[in-house]
């Protein structure tokens, strides 16, 4: 019994390591876009990812055919959404002018290639709203590429 359990633990650890070797880079990139930290120093993104991966590890035997990458990404975005207030003020990253919700939509739709319906379901929003947020966030991203020098742009809060 004990022997079988330890064999199962070893197998799980091995599978998890293989999964992380392939997926951690992409997940960390997504996390770093979400926390809006610069790519060379993203401690918050690393913490977020470590937590998401730990939870994925704990669920590993109960994934039952579910894609571990999607499970880990779901853990990542739900933790990010729960603690979004922490990431409002971070700066220096690519998306630091966007709100946490805009970052979530932009990353899921454009970087991760998740369909609009799935994004809406993951974030608990109607699909039309996701579409609107994506339009606004994309426009903000593109206008940022041609900034007026020396004048920091503040994002206008929309009601």
């Amino acid at each position: 019994m004990r022997q079988r359990r330890s064999a199962q633990q070893r197998r799980r650890a091995l599978e998890f390591e293989t999964f992380c070797a392939g997926a951690a880079g992409r997940l960390l990139h997504a996390a770093q876009l979400l926390t809006a930290e610069p790519p060379d120093a993203a401690p918050q993104a690393e913490r977020l990812l470590t937590r998401a991966l730990a939870r994925t590890y704990a669920r590993w035997d109960r994934l039952r055919g579910e894609d571990p990458y999607e499970a880990a990404r779901q853990q990542l975005i739900s933790r990010f959404a729960q603690t979004a207030w922490r990431y409002r003020r971070t700066s220096g990253g690519l998306l630091d002018r966007l709100s946490p919700q805009e970052r979530l939509v932009l990353v899921l739709r454009m970087s991760e290639g998740v369909a609009e319906e799935q994004t809406a379901a993951a974030l608990g929003l109607p699909p039309e709203r996701v579409h609107q947020i994506l339009l606004r966030a994309s426009a903000a991203m593109l206008s940022r590429q041609t900034p007026a020098p020396g004048r920091p742009r503040r994002e206008v809060a929309t009601p």
Partner: protein
Amino acid sequence: MISITARKEQAVRDLLDGPHPAVPPQLTQLAAARGRRMLRRRTALRSGVWLLLVAALTALTVWAAVSGAWVDHPAQTTPDFDGW
């Protein structure tokens, strides 16, 4: 419904696909260790609940056996009544 043009969409995609952060080498080990700890805690909690349940059931059985809860005690509500 308005939609962003393909060109703009590609521009945003290119922007997002910028430099990737390097994954710290110990991150996987750290996550696995934390995951193992979570699993152990969960297992301990579950076995604690089971233990409590079994203990309660045993206590109930022992108490019932000792006190003879199923024996029908004779009714003693009416006192002897003599001296009419």
